[in-house]
């Protein structure tokens, strides 16, 4: 099989070919150190501040689309075949400021200016997607951008005003869409890419079957989907990751579709890529989804990775377990399906064999009478890791609770069902008392830890209260709101 040994992509207006790209080389270091394009800043190197925000344009089945991402944890190899747009590309050839830039200047959106290029890039992406955003849409778009100086008010005023300065239709990313599409199409040679030094080898399989075979060839390879975990292994923990097999570029793994009575999410689909389908079929997850990380991370991170990393504090496992999700694991041509909850064996230990990868996630569509809720509690509302996350799914048969599935994150060494609490509810009459019993039973289900996110006592009390909240929220007798408004 033919192979390629370099990475090719468009960087602003030019095509670049970079030979010998190690798996752990980041896009940010490439920009700042190799290219001396210093407009993109490093504020944290962990995906949390947004100072490094760039746009990555990718040619998918539905055409070319741009999304803001964190260059600090984005591996260079993963932009193969993409269009990378940095702050240097914004002002026109005549040196005139871009509408987003002019709006930021006029509204005094910068003080020290260090966060500013990142904000400009996020707002640029927002303006192209939603030319006239509401304040809430701006806030959601800026969940991944920190500013320590301005207090955000002037930035939001600028964001809301951008369209007065120009229309996205006239923007060069739109006017040059056809040319860029042609260029990116030409870069797609459909071969496996193998590049980088032996101890830091990066492999981009040609397709999903090639991924399966590459994993058999390198059973100990690090799989990289969105790199929103793996990126930090490199930038924060200096962990070697080679050989690494990338899968974020495989269209076939990004499919999100309803098939029969379930939604199937390809393991390579980013949070953003499955957002609409999630909101359509599981409306209770729409606001929850918006609270997973920030926009840039949602554009990279995958549900597959969120499951595969086995973290006890990942946000999707508890809500997916409550919904009765299953995952498909594949090794070579052999596939097996297992209930998501059984995938998590213990802290740091999952039911995944060497050479195996998560191929897809199947989430059954809600049945008649099923009531679902998803709750996330964190110290800071947005872009924070949960102290407690919960998925609750109750099926009512008249006044009786016919079935119930409750799963929590942040309460144990793995995402875990609350067996005792479920038992207290199963078959019980829908009542405050039944939920009170369930809340008490949680103390037998879990013995949470204390750490910097929350104490054990808080985790337990809040988790119990989430069951109480669920009852109040769903009970007909409740009239006043029992949860803070989302916007």
């Amino acid at each position: 099989m033919t192979q390629r040994h370099d990475i090719r992509f468009l960087l602003n207006g030019r095509e670049v070919t970079v030979p010998d790209v190690g798996a752990s080389q980041t896009l940010l270091d490439f920009l700042r150190l190799d290219r001396r394009m210093t407009g993109t800043k490093e504020g944290c190197a962990e995906g949390d501040c947004g100072a490094c925000t760039v746009l990555v344009g990718r040619l998918g089945p539905e055409g070319l689309s741009y999304a803001p991402v964190n260059a600090c944890i984005r591996f260079l190899a993963s932009v193969d075949g993409c269009h990378v747009v940095t702050i240097e590309h914004l002002s026109g050839p005549d040196g005139r400021l871009h509408p987003v830039q002019q709006a930021m200047v006029d509204h005094h959106g910068s003080q020290c200016g260090f966060c500013t290029p990142g904000f400009v890039m996020s707002l640029y992406a927002l303006w192209m997607a939603v030319p006239e955003p509401t304040e809430t849409q701006v806030e959601t778009a800026l969940q991944g951008n920190l500013c320590r100086c301005t207090g955000y008010a002037p930035i939001i005023r600028a964001a809301v005003a951008v369209s007065r300065y120009g229309s996205p239709a006239a923007d060069h990313l739109n006017t040059e869409r056809a040319r860029v599409t042609a260029q990116l199409t030409a870069l797609r040679d459909g071969v496996r890419v193998v590049t980088g030094p032996a101890d830091d080898l990066a492999i981009l399989p040609a397709d999903v079957d090639d991924l399966a075979s590459a994993l058999l060839e390198y059973p100990d390879a690090t799989l990289i989907a969105g790199a929103t975990d793996v990126g930090l292994w490199v930038t924060k923990f200096l962990r070697p990751i080679g050989p690494a097999i990338f899968l974020g570029h495989l269209d076939a793994l990004k499919a999100v579709q309803v098939d029969g009575d379930a939604l199937h999410i390809g393991a390579g689909a980013s949070y953003s890529e499955c957002q609409d389908a999630i909101a359509d079929h599981f409306p209770h997850l729409a606001p929850y989804w918006d609270r997973i990380a920030g926009w840039q991370v949602r554009n990279m991170g995958t549900v597959g990775g969120n499951i595969a990393n086995g973290s006890p504090i990942g946000d999707t496992p508890p809500v997916l377990i409550a919904l009765g999700a299953e995952i498909t694991l594949r090794r070579g041509d052999v596939r097996r399906v297992l209930p998501l909850e059984t995938f998590f064996i213990d802290y740091g230990k999952q039911d995944r064999a060497a050479g195996e990868f998560v191929e897809s996630i199947r989430v059954p569509l809600p049945a008649e009478g099923q009531i679902d809720a998803a709750y996330k509690i964190s110290k800071r509302r947005d872009e924070d890791i949960s102290s407690v996350a919960a998925g609750i799914s109750v099926t009512r048969d008249g006044d009786t609770i016919a079935d119930v599935r409750i799963a929590f994150g942040g309460m144990a060494a793995t995402p875990k069902r609350a067996a005792q609490a479920e038992a207290a509810l199963r078959g019980a009459v829908w009542s405050e008392g039944a939920f009170e019993q369930a809340a008490q039973a949680l103390a037998q289900d879990f013995a949470p830890l204390s750490d910097w996110r929350a104490s054990a006592d808080y985790r337990m009390l809040a988790a119990q209260n989430l069951l109480r909240r669920f009852f109040l929220e769903q009970d007909d007798a409740t009239t006043a709101p029992v949860q803070l408004a989302t916007a």
């Binding site: 969940q143 207090g151 955000y152 989430l466 109480r468 408004a485």
Partner: protein
């Protein structure tokens, strides 16, 4: 179109930040963006993994032989003095020789071809040490008999014992106030380039170039004139780059001289946050006597601060906490003491407000306590306690409050925010809402302006007018986003009556203005604006004398009009006038100087006038909490803030908005958490949560008190703005408290500790419900 009648960028007008266009295009250069000479090396710090130990030996052999490593620096390599204590206490080694005093303490530096290589190698050291018990917080330190890191301060006026005896009511309490990481977006960084002889140039991101210069000289053992420190701009400072940059500057400079190569050092965010100091956390014990109207009779408080292992700036920081322990309130009898405790944590440092905010939080807590104890609206308790006329105008440090405008400010805000009506509505809402509860609070701020170390209150500037009429401005202040350069340039433009664009703002460098003070204590434009004005006045004096002489008119008949000079009946363009002055050999350059008048402070007696004037402000915030989870939102904030006659209202408003959010973050989600080994576990934005756009109040009305004018002769009658509005965030903290108090029908002060995380809010709700 240009308005011929006025200049662009005059004082008291809105003007964009001078670097705004560079910010938005990514072309503003920060230290890490400066092109590196060939052969530039990179340094990285190796740090301690224990909190307290006797240091026996460090085996660096694996570090030295790691790929790309050029060498290492330890205490033994320090050519001069192994100390970077900014207050000369000799308690802060560059690298320790015999003891480790906190987890994350820098022990050595490794120098390598790339930053990545240096970073990896730094992990390979073998540290041989004998671990000792550690004390992380003030409680543990006091129990273990740890010393103060610097002499405590006592402020006393009246006789507290008499005050308590006469008071109808008395209560005691304690509040724990957490620290705060600066979380400037640009981390610490220094980049040293060696020169001939002893010379070295250090580009860095410091708020205090002169101190960095002196530290480098001190550590290298060379005179200060060999060292140049340059700062074009910082990506945020907030006090965290006042003394904390010294370490990075000296390491880069030592390495640059040793290997005769350019050397850059930039810690990653984790190291930045673990190895550099933060806002001091405090435990305040208060005892307050008051009458049945809530009027305070006597206050006795002790302020114990977690200072960390060395003094750094803890002396002046804890002093300033006491200076603000009255906030805007008159205490008839008062005794305040500071306890700057040594702990086995990083040495805490300056942070916007410099201890003042902790003092103010403690004052507001007493007000709150009194309000709950007397069943009165906290705002009414505030009002009866405000400083007033003679007899009620002396601070605990015996300075008379002469410029008090807090009454008017608070009244106006109360009205504009419809405080009374909303409070009543909230009480009603809470009565009918089982889970969600609201709270509202209106809190004032009075903040003293001047460095309490009197000698810091001086500044220099250098102004050149070139023969083509263009102007170069340099001053000792540093730009960290606050718009200082813009404001000082406005002062210069105004004084010459030329367009702002004509003035070139240049980097701050110790080569041009010597012996400067830190850009801190909100003093930047007060001091540097005056120094620049002084320089301009000197040049203008010479120009006027020249014109009067040449044209044969009286000096009063030489007038600087917008971009023109009128001499008698003649009118010239500024450029041609300058050209003529040059031809006539008029000196077109001047060094300006300023020192703040009328201030003095005697620490031993606790008496004086440490502050030139006060800045005031007030804010009113409304919140909603979820009593099932402790989560909350700030739904509305109204602010009225005093900046005197603003030099640039839009920049000042930006400071107020930003400071409020930063203050709110400090008291809500920004939590520092150490594990039992003494390691700080909230050391990056992933774990340390500063406010996001979605945390700001939905409704956010910020206004400047446009009627205010500084009664002192400050630059254009303006007031400092950097720090005072930080304390406006306290209104959020107290509004949360009210929402919590609603679950016990406002009869119990919830005694929330700061930061009021969702966890603290929920646990307080649970405590109040349980009737504890």
């Amino acid at each position: 179109m240009k308005d011929e009648l006025s200049i662009r960028g005059a004082v008291h007008t809105d003007r964009i930040h001078d670097s705004a266009i560079k910010h938005v295009t990514g072309s503003a250069d920060y230290t890490d963006d400066i092109p590196q000479p060939q052969g530039t090396l990179h340094a990285y710090l190796g740090v301690s993994k224990v909190a307290h130990a006797t240091l026996n030996a460090i085996d660096l052999s694996a570090v030295r032989t790691a790929p790309g490593v050029v060498g290492v620096l330890t205490a033994a390599d320090v050519p001069g003095c192994n100390d970077i204590s900014p207050t000369g206490q000799n308690d802060e080694p560059v690298f320790p020789t015999d003891k480790i005093e906190f987890h994350g303490q820098p022990l050595f530096a490794v120098i390598a071809d790339t930053r990545d290589a240096a970073r990896r190698a730094a992990e390979l050291a073998q540290v041989d040490c004998t671990v000792l018990p550690h004390a992380l917080d003030v409680g543990a330190a006091q129990e273990a008999g740890y010393p103060h890191v610097t002499a405590p301060l006592k402020l006393e006026r009246g006789t507290v014992e008499d005050g308590f005896a006469a008071a109808a009511n008395r209560l005691q309490g304690r509040i724990t106030i957490g620290g705060q990481d600066h979380m400037y977006l640009e981390g610490q960084i220094a980049f040293a380039i060696p020169g001939e002889d002893d010379d070295v140039v250090v580009h860095c991101s410091t708020q205090h170039p002169s101190e960095a210069q002196h530290m480098v000289a001190h550590v290298l053992g060379v005179p200060s004139n060999a060292v140049t420190v340059n700062v074009r701009r910082m990506g945020g400072g907030f006090g965290g780059k006042e003394s904390q940059m010294n370490l990075f500057c000296v390491v880069a400079a030592m390495a640059a001289k040793k290997w005769n190569r350019a050397v850059k050092i930039r810690p990653d965010r984790d190291q930045d946050m673990t190895a550099t100091g933060k806002r001091h956390d405090f435990v305040v014990d208060y005892d307050v006597g008051f009458d049945n109207d809530g009027r305070i009779q006597a206050v006795e408080s002790s302020f114990a601060a977690r200072c960390g292992y060395s003094s750094d700036l803890s002396g002046p920081v804890t002093d300033r906490a006491l200076f603000h322990a009255d906030n805007a309130y008159f205490y008839p009898h008062v005794r305040l003491t500071s306890r700057p405790m040594k702990t086995n944590t990083v040495s805490n440092t300056a942070f916007r407000g410099f201890g003042g905010p902790q003092g103010v939080v403690a004052a507001e807590r007493m007000i709150e306590e009194i309000a709950y104890a007397t069943g009165r609206d906290p705002l009414d308790v505030r009002k009866v306690n405000f400083y007033g006329d003679a007899g009620r105008d002396l601070t605990p440090y015996h300075q008379q409050v002469q410029d008090n405008i807090i009454g008017r400010l608070v009244d106006e805000l109360e009205e504009a925010a419809a405080y009374r009506q909303r409070r009543a509505e909230i009480v009603e809402f809470n009565a009918g809402s089982k889970i969600l509860k609201k709270g509202i609070a209106l809190t004032p701020v009075k903040f003293g302006i001047s460095f309490t170390a009197t000698h810091y209150n001086q500044a220099g500037a250098l102004v050149h007018v070139y023969s083509d009429g263009s102007i170069a401005l340099n001053h000792g202040g540093t730009e960290m986003g606050q718009g200082l350069n813009t404001k000082v340039a406005q002062v210069v433009a105004d004084a010459f009556q030329v367009d702002f664009d004509r003035i070139k703002i240049t980097r701050t460098t110790t080569e041009k203005v010597p012996n400067t003070s830190a850009t801190a204590a909100s003093s930047g434009s007060d001091l540097n604006g005056m120094a620049a004005l002084n320089a301009v006045e000197q040049i203008k004096g010479r120009l006027v004398a020249f014109a009067a002489d040449k044209w044969g008119v009286a000096p009063e008949d030489v007038r600087f009009l917008p971009n023109l000079v009128q001499i008698g009946t003649d009118t010239l363009s500024f450029d041609s006038f300058i050209k003529q002055a040059y031809m006539a050999r008029v000196q077109l350059s001047a060094a300006g100087f300023y020192k703040t008048p009328d201030i003095h402070w005697d620490r031993a007696s606790g008496k004086g006038r440490p502050f030139y004037y006060y800045a005031y402000g007030a804010s009113c915030s409304e919140v909603m909490i979820d009593t099932l989870t402790g989560e909350y939102r700030v739904t509305r904030t109204d602010i009225l803030h005093d900046v005197g006659r603003s030099l640039n209202p839009v920049l000042d408003k930006g400071q107020v908005e930003g400071a409020f959010i930063q203050g709110m973050g400090w008291l809500t989600t920004e939590e520092l958490w150490w594990d039992d080994k003494g390691a700080l576990r909230t050391h990056a934005p992933s774990t340390y949560k500063i406010p996001l756009a979605s945390d700001r109040p939905r409704i956010f009305n910020v206004n400047l008190a446009d009627w205010s004018e500084n009664r002192e002769l400050t630059i254009k009658r303006s007031k400092a703005v950097g720090e005072p509005p930080f304390m406006l965030g306290i209104s959020v903290f107290e509004a949360l408290s009210m929402a919590v108090a609603s679950v016990a029908d406002y009869t119990v002060c919830p005694r929330l500790d700061a930061p009021a995380t969702p966890e603290r809010v929920l646990m307080a709700v649970a405590r109040l419900r349980a009737g504890a």
